[in-house]
Subunit: 349 residues, 2 copies
């Protein structure tokens, strides 16, 4: 590996001058500066990336921390972030924490402020103390999809009204005439899907409908998780005519479970999701869901992060900024329909 | 941003000593070394990551270049790489080139040898000249799934016998009794799916079956690409009883197209894919496909890259190493069955 001393010798300057060129500091003449950059290129020297990018006017890098790259929502969000970042000449490197806070901490420690000028956090299950430490080191942090616009976190964030998403999906089922609606919540009790479930409960209450505890299941936020929960829920409660799922993946799993139980969707069972991932459009029956403004959230998050990078880390006495996206919106497709009356004996009571 | 001079002042040493500690070079006493590391921590200094990782014994980073993070195979492969890398304490950062060689070049220039000790390339559509340049700079490069074990590329690589994968899928359809088999090739003519298609052609020839040019379509390697190609192919050629697709995504699209044309899968049409992504197992009907040893390829690629990092860049007069995975294997699920005889008038000829 080439050292800064070798670069200095090659360019006929002191290591301090090389450092000044790399950091755009001190007084270095244009001709000397070029000589140093030429020496760096000739020797293939790889200095501190951010410093070199600064010196050469090259694109700096943003880190995107995601919790589970295997969940198709995250690649979609990553693409949206890349589009937004590229518009301002930034590169995005994706760090997958696999829902492990220790992995997340290690990534933050490796990358934040070294390779990346700033960090975008997408549900990466990170310790807030670690994120504050990253901020303190000079790399701003933005939370990309905070679930509760009215309850801001202690970090700059972009919020999506996920309670509204839940209300919209539930109201759609209620307006179709469904009364016995089950819910599959794709996170732990009081996990990140709680606001979506609260929106569902609010819509049910507003329609004077009861949410039966035995009609609610918490499940992993995956197709398999939704499949298992729906299979069990529908087998145990044949009176259910519709399922509200807090995310598209468990909703798709619920549709598979219905098929395996001999229930037609939407004839025998309506199913709704939330997010509108690509698979929601591509599955058959295509999934009725509540579309979350993913591209807008990505754009806002990149904009906010760039503002924080430009102005330096926020003063600690300043409240963190929160940008809210436009509201989620219902997208009706082929997985919902009015309940088939008298389909099951228990429906007649 | 803290400078190396500030670290030196804080630790009461010269900047050269700080540099020596960071690079594990020169003679630095244990006590002085600790003082420098303490100063680095106290000031939040972020030096050249690889050097610091070296000095502190922390985990170095591998870069994984992928062509399209939106294609669900790539996140699955990234997870497999992460698992393999973590076993040796390496972190993986994912760089999505979006099938753009210029993006790929920029990532290589930003990351290879700076943040990452080595680069894994997964179909990232990169210019070989750029990859050789990265090698020349001291960051080894490994191609993760070369398609032609008998025709090695000019870079270290892990190869998968994709022609065999094509043969296995086609032979399965032929053994079921299909004679008029269409093919959907998920890449350009002479693109990366060519060996898979050649395997299909070889199996057809071995069974004395004709591959009709009008039964073959090249399409984008996506669900939509497969949908459009299959819709057109099946509409124009009702005599087709089975579709061979070179990848799972277009195969899933073909199943959707069949549904929209009123054809039952597998009753009216059998469909096969290649790869065995998660969606192949989770879709209904579950997809018959040829499973590619993804986890094994990821493990071999990480092993090979670590060997290259450990031994330094290969001498230019040495032929690049090629590791071959175990062979792909057929996984029969619900999307294939014997042809329904006399289903369509044209079948009787």
């Amino acid at each position: 590996m080439t050292t800064i001393n070798e670069v200095a010798r090659h360019a006929g300057v002191t290591p301090a001058t090389v450092s000044n060129v790399l950091r755009s500091r001190g007084r270095v003449g244009a001709e000397t500066r070029q000589r140093v950059l030429d020496a760096i290129d000739a020797l293939g020297y790889r200095p501190h990336l951010a410093a070199r990018a600064l010196a050469e006017g090259r694109a700096p890098t943003l880190a995107l921390m995601v919790s589970s790259i295997a969940n198709p929502f995250y690649p979609e969000f990553a693409l949206a972030v890349e589009r937004a970042a590229r518009a301002s000449g930034h590169f995005v490197i994706i760090c997958n924490t696999n829902e492990d806070p220790l992995m997340g901490r290690a990534y933050l420690d490796q990358i934040a402020g070294t390779l990346s000028e700033g960090v975008l956090v997408m549900n990466a299950n990170l310790d807030f103390a670690d994120l504050h430490l990253t901020e303190a080191r000079g790399a701003p942090v933005v939370l990309c999809m905070w679930e509760k616009p009215n309850d801001p976190p202690g970090l700059p964030s972009v919020a999506v009204d996920f309670a509204l998403a839940g209300r919209l999906a539930a109201s759609h089922l209620i307006e179709l005439g469904h009364r016995r609606i089950g819910a599959i919540v794709g996170s732990k009790v009081s996990g990140i899907h709680t606001p979506r479930y609260e929106g569902f409960v609010a819509a049910m209450k507003a329609a004077h409908l009861t949410v039966h505890a035995e009609h609610v299941r918490h499940a992993p936020d995956t197709v398999q998780g939704g499949y298992a929960a729906a299979h069990e829920l529908l087998s145990a409660n044949p009176e259910i005519t519709a399922l509200f799922a807090t995310n598209d993946l468990p909703a798709l799993g619920a549709i598979h479970a219905a098929a395996d139980l001999g229930l037609a969707v939407p004839g025998d069972l309506s199913v709704t999701g939330i997010t509108d991932i690509q698979l929601a459009r591509e599955s058959r029956p295509a999934l009725t869901t509540v579309a979350v403004p993913t591209a807008e959230a990505a754009k806002l998050a990149v904009t906010l992060l760039r503002e924080l990078i430009a102005t330096g880390t926020r003063p600690s006495d300043m409240a963190p900024v929160l940008y809210e996206t436009s509201p989620p919106r219902l997208v009706v497709r082929a997985s919902t329909a009015p309940p088939r009356s008298a389909r099951r004996p228990s429906r007649s009571r």
